[in-house]
Point group: C2
Chain length 229, copies 2
DNA sequence: CAAGGCACTGAAACTGAGTATCGTCCGCAT
DNA sequence: ATGCGGACGATACTCAGTTTCAGTGCCTTG
């Protein structure tokens, strides 16, 4: 359902005033006055002064959740990557509003914080989804956390780039590229590990300066293999 | 320098009251009264009612920043992993306070939001650090974002596990395990710093399942050394 | 000892966000 | 016409956070 005309007027008045005077210097009374309604009415349409900048985040989150549960992708990470496109689509389809909000959020800490919290909700949703998908495989919780964080980070990176370029280009190729990055990065973690004794899951990480001679490296590794910690 | 006795009394009063009545039901007046000082004094010691729960986050962030700039690790991701240990150390060294805060944050959305914002500051610091390190190599910004997000996610995962277990065990083995996960995941994304000879500082990070036979490992490493990417 | 400076505190007034309550008005169906 | 429900305005209230001013103890310096 479309937003009511009053909500619309309030949002426009708020954005205009935030732009002219700044966020902190604008009171809810000012917004209501410009929209031609009372202060009470403002709080009937928006739970807080911040929410007027981030309307329908709840609806978008619900949409993403629905997309996830309906997903037919064959791996968790692909499903989540698929779902995150919805978010970017929403931003891209009203570039005007997104850009205005981006400039505002860049200047006002309170709004930046609000946005960070919103993003965390998506990340949590992804984490829970991937966690359920992976079940109780070893390190499932850890992998879920990492995947969710990576997908969100990729999205944020692409979105910021698009916003900083004033929305001039199509952001989806960049998103696909970034998500491909994530998917390939995590592909080797998707394989189910063989279950067996616990030691089978130990990993060894060896780091050397590239300038070291191959012999030095081989010696060090040989030593390490002979004395597992 | 240690916190002043007044700050200490205020913090204890606040935590006690939050525990008894709940966060929203406790006013700053209540806290100040129990601590035996005036409301003014409260705000002289803490900028907000929330901050009494998260004292020295600024100091910790500065400490992490200092550790990063002083780092001698040979790759960005290792430096960041190194830095994140400081954070977990801080949590672990007063487990009592951490646990009390954890229970509180779990119940009060406002505090949860505050914590999310704090975490985002670390992530941003890491992102900028890795970004600078990677310079203008292709996808540097994207990789920086992903690495920062992953390291933070790994830390959060370990911390949450530790807190949920009431701080019963040493969290650092789990952290090391999680960070190794991240390092191995990103090993193919690492690049060297560009000082003079680009190749001189290249590193190789190899990860193997502990169940692999030494011969298999040696073969793989030999192959890798002969064909540097 | 005295005078002035400084850090800490209390008191009080103020702004503004967010909540709760009440009365009113308008549209709409029976 | 009567009843009803939803949206609005007005008002008062709580509380976080800011600002200002004044008092007090302490420490230095003459």
């Amino acid at each position: 359902m479309p937003r009511s005309p009053v909500s619309q007027r309030l949002a426009e008045a708020a954005i205009a005033l935030f732009d002219e005077r700044g966020y902190d210097e604008t009171t809810v009374d000012d917004i209501a006055a410009r929209a031609g309604v009372s202060r009470s009415t403002f709080f009937r349409h928006y739970r807080s002064k911040e929410e007027v900048i981030f309307p329908d985040h709840d609806a978008l989150l619900a949409q993403v959740r629905a997309r996830l549960t309906a997903s037919t992708a064959d791996t968790a990470i692909v499903a989540v990557c698929d779902a995150v496109r919805i978010v970017l689509t929403r931003y891209a389809e009203d570039a005007e509003v997104s850009l205005q909000r981006y400039r505002l959020v860049g200047k006002v800490p309170a709004l930046r914080h609000r946005e960070i919290v919103s993003v965390a909700r998506y990340q949590r949703l992804f984490r829970e989804f991937v966690g359920d998908w992976l079940g109780d495989s070893p390190d499932a919780a850890l992998r879920a956390e990492l995947m969710a964080a990576s997908v969100v980070a990729a999205h944020n990176q692409v979105l910021r780039g698009w916003l900083r370029a004033n929305g001039g280009h199509d952001p989806f190729p960049a998103l696909d590229h970034a998500l491909q990055y994530v998917i390939t990065t995590f592909r080797h973690l998707e394989r189910s590990r063989d279950d067996g004794d616990q030691d089978a899951d130990r990993v060894i990480v060896a780091a050397f300066r590239g300038s070291a001679s191959p012999d030095t490296v081989m010696d060090a590794i040989r030593t390490q293999l002979q004395t597992p910690s």
